[in-house]
């Protein structure tokens, strides 16, 4: 159903009939029974091609292979750690899955209770047991800055198409940001800049599925910065080109900072979208 270019998506509840023609295949958050497709979750009905899915609007994070997530260490074992990532279960990480050589009983020397870490989900088995690793070059303990928790269903909106939204926020606030698929966002920079970035993200979370959001966020950032995004982006681009020419230059943002904004579910974390 369209109305002046705006598409109103139908909100469906669990058990609701999505299609009884038999022509649509069951997509995300649906099930097929007797030739018809039904919703399993509360969400927005969406038809793409010959598939009908439900875009979920709420619910805990469910780990998927390849996801980068940000979690907090809750327990040290002699050769493992337990880390909470907002999923139905805490994840265990073994000493074999970290880049350091950890002696038996010395796990707290590397990661202690309360530490925040960037991890990668490497495997989820049929029983939903999750294996995580820090072996990926991007993974590390995070220090300084702040973390925000948003609903995992809003993460794609924060990242934006091809990372456009998050790049805009980072450029305009001069902050470093990492977005975990589990809805945890880490932001580091000067306190006033962190505050602006935080406001932008909180606004996105509150208004994720409304229209005109990108424009509103841009305005919020421009008002805070006192400059237009056009200007700032042009400046950044020339900075990046410049430092690319310099030998051993600082190069602006640390390598890999761009990596996690990838919203296509691409496995390669180093896809630099800018």
């Amino acid at each position: 159903m369209t109305h002046r270019g705006q598409q109103v998506r139908e909100l469906v509840v669990p058990g609701e009939l999505l299609d009884d023609t038999g022509r649509l295949k069951p997509g995300f958050n649906t099930y097929r029974e007797g030739g018809s497709v039904f919703a399993t979750r509360l969400g927005l009905k969406e038809v793409r091609g010959d598939r009908v899915s439900v875009i979920q609007l709420s619910g805990r994070y469910e780990p998927m292979r390849g996801d980068f997530v940000i979690g907090t260490v809750v327990e040290n074992g002699p050769s493992n750690w337990y880390i909470t990532v907002g999923a139905p279960q805490d994840v265990g990480m073994h000493v074999n899955d970290v880049p350091w050589r950890v002696e038996f009983g010395e796990t707290s020397k590397y990661l202690a209770v309360g530490d925040t870490v960037l991890l990668r989900v490497v495997h989820v088995d049929e029983l939903r047991k999750v294996q995580v690793s820090m072996k990926d070059r991007q993974c590390r303990k995070l220090e300084g800055g702040i973390t925000l928790d948003i609903s995992p269903s809003k993460v794609p909106r924060v990242i934006g198409r091809q990372g456009s939204m998050i790049s805009m926020i980072k450029d305009m606030t001069n902050t470093r940001m990492l977005v975990g698929q589990n809805g945890v966002i880490w932001i580091d920079g000067a306190p006033q800049d962190i505050a602006v970035a935080r406001r932008a993200i909180e606004t996105i979370e509150a208004e994720a599925h409304t229209s005109g959001l990108t424009d509103r966020i841009r305005k919020l950032l421009e008002d805070a910065r006192g400059r237009s995004y056009e200007e700032v982006r042009a400046e950044r681009e020339s900075e990046r080109r410049q430092s690319g020419e310099d030998e051993g230059g600082d190069g602006g943002e640390p390598e890999g900072e761009e990596g996690f904004d990838d919203s296509d579910g691409d496995d390669d974390p180093e896809d630099d979208e800018s």
Partner: protein, 266 residues
């Protein structure tokens, strides 16, 4: 149930009940979804004089360990009445009645929740009766269903619950306090409107076969009406989410691939 009626009390007068309702009429029902901040999902319901708050947490780690089921999530419903919810103050803490109700409500919900998607975890449903006026288990289950949907828990369908009964020899729907106290029969049920399966049924009193049929039909029809109210509560909560702009702003959604062989699988 079956208490001694005060002298001269008529539960029926000119085809109407004490509160003016017709035999097959529901008390007024209002439901709001997403009312608590900390819980994963929540609902607040008013039904006649009942005021009920439900919170859902999960799926989450099931503690203690020995409660865990290796192949599915356990659904733990805890029905509790606040001390001030009833006329004679109730001592805090679960009594045997609350424990029994908790069990049958857990079982009703476990039938619709896709528990096999979350082995070893627990889905906790907390039902608090803030004020009680007959039919709290039906009201609680109805609200719990909304709270579970609000929490994004995958289910086969919602559960809608209501009681039928018999007063002064006549089959009626949704007993009020006096009718519950002085009537002859109470029949709480719950169905999954999508399939019309019964997931809860209890009865005490006296019904002929014909009266039972009449009561079941009356209750099932009402359950479908209640389903409409439950859905409305969820739509109202998320209606802003339903507006979007189909254009370049369309972001890539990350969802979950259906499992292999989604025929009847999830």
């Amino acid at each position: 149930m079956g208490g001694k009626k005060p002298e001269g009390m008529e539960l029926f007068k000119d085809g109407r009940r004490i509160d003016g309702r017709r035999p097959d009429e529901l008390r007024p029902i209002k439901i709001q979804a997403g009312v608590l901040k900390r819980a994963d999902g929540s609902a607040y319901l008013e039904w006649g004089g009942n005021k009920i708050l439900v919170a859902v947490y999960g799926p989450r780690e099931a503690h203690p360990r020995h409660d865990q089921d290796p192949v599915r999530a356990i659904v733990r419903c805890r029905y509790n009445m606040a001390s001030f919810s009833v006329s004679d103050r109730k001592r805090p803490g679960p009594d045997r009645r609350s424990q029994e109700i908790s069990k049958i409500l857990s079982e009703a919900l476990a039938h619709v929740v896709l528990t096999q998607l979350y082995p070893r975890t627990a889905i906790d449903v907390f039902i608090e009766v803030i004020e009680a006026e007959a039919g709290t288990r039906c009201a609680g289950l109805t609200a719990a269903s909304v709270a579970l949907a609000d929490a994004g828990i995958p289910m086969k369908g919602l559960v809608s619950s209501v009681a039928a009964g018999k007063i002064d020899g006549k089959v009626v729907l949704d007993l009020s306090r006096e009718e519950d106290n002085f009537g002859e029969t109470d029949l709480p049920i719950a169905i999954v409107p999508k399939t019309n399966e019964f997931v809860l049924m209890q009865m005490d009193g006296h019904l002929t076969d014909a009266e039972f049929d009449e009561a079941l039909t009356m209750a099932s029809d009402a359950a479908h009406t209640i389903y409409g109210i439950q859905k409305r509560a969820l739509v109202d909560r998320y209606e802003r989410a339903a507006e979007t702009q189909a254009s370049d702003e369309e972001e890539t959604e990350r969802g979950h691939e259906p499992d292999e062989g989604s025929e009847g699988g999830y």
